[in-house]
Amino acid sequence: MGEYKALNGAVLKGDINTATAEMQKAIDADKNVQDIIDNGLIAAMDEVGERFSKGLLFVPQMLRAAKTMQECMKLIEPLLQKGDVTPKGKVLIGTVRGDLHDIGKNLVSMMMESAGFMITDLGVDVPPEKFVQKAQEVEPDIVAMSALLSTTMPAMPQTIEALGKAGLRAKVKVMIGGAPVTENYAHEIRADAYASDAGSAVSKAKKLLGIS
C-alpha cells in the first residue's frame, strides 16, 4: 500500500478532490496502470469494506468512497486498452416479477459495482423471460434476484427454471436476497447463494466465482 498512501487515504475518506489530484500525480509519474488500480484504488476499497463490516463506517461513507474511486477511474479510462482491466465478474440483477421494492437491490448493485463487478440492472418487476433474454445477451457470471414480498418469492424458482429451460442454468450462478428470503429457501430452490445484506452479497459473489 505504502506507495499510494495519500491516494488510499483520500479514497478511504471519500475526498474526491484530493483523490483525483493524487491519481493524476500517479498517472503523470508514469506508474503502471494496473498497479495504480490495484494498490491505489482497490486496496483502499478493500479497507473500506473491512471497516464497514466492523461497523466503523456508515453506508454513505462507503458509497462516497466508491464514488471517489469511480472519479479516479475516469482519469485512467482513456489510457486503458481494451481488456487491460478485467471486471471481477458480470452480474445481471433485478427485482423479481410483481415486486416493486428496489432500494435493497440498488444498494447491492452499487456495492458490487464498487467491488469491481460489472452490473446489468434490469430494474423492478422483472419477469423470468426478461432475465433469460438479458442473460443470453450479456452472458453474466451471476444472476442475482431480489424479492421483498413473500408473495413474489415464487418468481425466484420460476426464474431459475426458465434459465434451465434456456440451457443457461449451468453457465450462471444464481444469487438471491431480500428481507423474507432465507438461506434455507435458497437451498430449497437450488440457488447457489443467499446473502442477507449488501456487504455479504459482495463476499458471497466473490466466493461463488472463486475470487478474493
Binding site: V59, L107, D197
Partner: protein
C-alpha cells in the same frame, strides 16, 4: 376556598412551529409543480390532465398548487370507523388516537416455542382474536403474510380470516383492483349490504405509492376503487429518510406529503368527499444495517410533525405507527422502543396508529408484543389525560382531616382514597410491582413471560362473537371463487 371549574390541560407534544409547517407544505407543492411525478394509471393520468395537470417532455406530470388545495378542501375532516356490529368505535377526528396491529410480517414468534417461524393463516386468526379482546387495541391488521394460502388471493384469505376472528374495525391490504373487489364483497356481506357498509364503514385500505414520486397502475386501481365505494383509504409512500427520500426529515416529509397530495387529488377527482386518511411513512434507513427502522425516534418525530401540520392547516386525520421494534425478541429494547413510539404518538395526537406488535423492523410479529402494548397504551393514556384540578382532587378537606386526625390517622383509610383511587391511579395489569419475595414465589417471571402467559390465556378463553352461518358460507363461496 371558592368552587373550582378549571378545564384540564391535556398534555400535547408539539414539534413544529407554524412557519416550519407552512414551509414543508410549500415544499411539497413545489415538488408537484416543478419536479412532477410518474402516473402509470392511464385514467388517473387523464383525470389529472383534464383538471389542470401538465405533461412534461419526459412524460411526467406536474400539478398546479390550486388543484391540490382544492382536493384538500373537499376531503372530509373526519373519518368515522365503525366496528363490525355497527358501533362507531373509531372517530378519527381532532386528536383522537387509536392503536392497532400491522400487516404483512413474514415471520412470527411462536407462542409455544418462542421461536421465529414462517407465519401461517392460523396466526392471522390468533392475532385477530387477541386484538378483539384487548381493550386498548382498537383495530386489527393481519400481522402475517401466511405461507399456506394461494398466493394470488392471499389478501382475500387474510381478510376472510380476520372477519371470522374479530369484530373490531379492520385495516386491510389488497394487491390490485381485482382482489379488493372480492374483499369489498365480503365486507358488504358482513355489513348486510353495500348501503349499510357505506353508512357504517368498518374497514380502511392501506395502499402505498412508491417514493420517489411513482404511482403504479395497481395502486391507483385500489385508490380509485376505494374512492368510488367510499372505503376509507390511506396512501403512505415509502418516503423513508435516506431510503426512498432525502436523509433529512424535512425533505422526506415534503416528498411524502407531495405523494400523498397526488393520491388525494386523484381520489377527490374520482369522488369528492370520499374519506382519505392523510400521511406518509417517514421512518429512516439505518446506515449500518441498511434496514428501514421500526423503532427509531425519527419516525415518531415525523408523525408528530404531521399531526402539527394537521392542526395548522390540513385538518385531515393522520396515519401513524407505534408499538414496534427492531429488536429480534421481546426484550428490553423492544419494550423501550415500543413505549417511546406509543407515548409520543399519543402525546402528538396522531389518529390511526398501526404496526403495534412488530419486531425485527416489521419482519416478525409477536402476540406478546401486542399484549404488552395494550398495557403501554393504557399507561400513556393515563399520562395524556393530564391532572384534573378541582375541589375533589385537591382534597383540602382530606388533608385537614388526616393532618389533624391524631395518631393512626392516615390517607389510606380515608374514604377519599376509596372513592378516588381507581381514577387517580394507573392500575397496571401486567407490569410487575410486586415485592421481591412474592415475585420470586410467583415464578420470577419477566414481562415477556407474563405477556406470553396472558396471550395464551386470552386465546384459550376469549370467545369472538361469531358471524352468522349465512355470512360464513358466503365468504367461503367467495374464497372458492364460485
Amino acid at each position: 376556598m371558592k368552587s373550582l371549574n378549571i378545564p384540564t390541560f391535556l398534555p400535547r407534544l408539539k414539534v413544529l412551529n407554524r412557519e416550519q409547517a407552512l414551509a414543508i407544505h410549500q415544499a411539497a407543492l413545489e415538488i408537484l409543480e416543478k419536479t412532477g411525478f410518474k402516473m402509470e394509471h392511464p385514467d388517473a393520468h387523464q383525470m389529472l390532465v383534464d383538471a389542470g395537470g401538465k405533461v412534461t417532455n419526459d412524460g411526467r406530470l406536474t400539478l398546479p398548487a390550486y388543484l391540490v388545495e382544492e382536493a384538500l378542501k373537499t376531503t372530509p375532516k373526519q373519518i368515522a370507523l365503525y366496528d363490525q356490529k355497527g358501533n362507531k368505535t373509531m372517530p378519527l377526528v381532532d386528536g383522537n388516537p387509536f392503536y392497532g396491529t400491522g400487516s404483512d410480517a413474514t415471520f412470527t414468534l411462536d407462542l409455544e416455542t418462542g421461536q421465529r417461524r414462517r407465519a401461517v393463516l392460523k396466526d392471522v386468526a390468533n392475532f385477530a382474536r387477541l386484538v378483539d379482546n384487548l381493550e386498548n387495541i382498537s383495530f386489527a391488521m393481519s400481522m402475517a403474510n401466511p405461507d399456506d394460502v394461494p398466493v394470488e388471493d392471499i389478501y382475500v384469505y387474510v381478510f376472510a380470516e380476520m372477519i371470522k376472528n374479530i369484530n373490531k374495525p379492520i385495516v386491510f391490504i389488497a394487491d390490485s383492483g381485482r382482489d379488493i373487489a372480492k374483499i369489498y364483497e365480503i365486507a358488504c356481506l358482513v355489513a348486510g349490504g353495500e348501503e349499510e357498509f357505506q353508512k357504517k364503514p368498518f374497514m380502511l385500505n392501506y395502499s402505498e405509492a412508491i417514493s420517489p414520486l411513482r404511482f403504479p397502475q395497481n395502486v391507483m386501481e385500489k385508490l380509485i376503487f376505494c374512492a368510488r365505494k367510499k372505503i376509507p383509504i390511506c396512501l403512505p409512500s415509502g418516503s423513508n429518510a435516506g431510503g426512498g427520500a432525502p436523509i433529512t426529515i424535512a425533505g422526506a416529509m415534503a416528498l411524502g406529503i407531495a405523494e400523498n397530495l397526488v393520491g388525494l387529488a386523484v381520489h377527490q377527482l374520482t369522488n369528492k368527499g370520499a374519506p382519505f386518511l392523510f400521511g406518509p411513512n417517514v421512518s429512516t434507513l439505518d446506515m449500518k444495517s441498511t434496514v428501514v427502522s421500526y423503532g427509531c425516534p425519527e419516525w415518531s418525530l415525523s408523525q408528530a410533525a404531521l399531526a402539527d401540520m394537521r392542526d395548522e392547516m390540513y385538518g385531515l386525520p393522520t396515519w401513524a405507527y407505534a408499538g414496534a421494534s427492531d429488536a429480534k425478541v421481546m426484550d428490553a429494547q423492544a419494550g423501550a422502543e415500543a413505549m417511546f413510539s406509543i407515548i409520543t404518538a399519543m402525546l402528538s395526537r396522531s389518529n390511526l396508529i398501526h404496526d403495534v406488535g412488530f419486531l425485527e423492523y416489521g419482519n416478525t410479529s409477536s402476540l406478546e408484543m401486542v399484549t404488552m402494548a395494550n398495557e403501554l397504551v393504557a399507561m400513556s393514556r393515563f399520562f395524556t389525560e393530564g391532572i384534573p384540578v378541582n375541589e375533589g382532587t385537591l382534597a383540602l378537606d382530606v388533608i385537614e382531616r388526616v393532618a389533624t386526625g391524631g395518631p393512626g390517622s392516615i390517607f389510606l383509610t380515608d374514604d377519599h382514597t376509596f372513592d378516588y383511587f381507581r381514577e387517580a391511579q394507573f392500575l397496571p395489569q401486567l407490569l410487575d410491582r410486586s415485592r421481591y419475595d412474592s415475585w420470586k414465589e410467583a415464578g420470577a417471571m419477566d414481562l415477556y413471560t407474563v405477556c406470553n402467559t396472558e396471550a395464551k390465556r386470552i386465546l384459550s378463553e376469549h370467545q369472538v362473537e361469531p358471524k352468522t352461518d349465512e355470512v360464513l358460507n358466503e365468504v367461503d363461496r367467495i374464497l372458492k371463487g364460485r
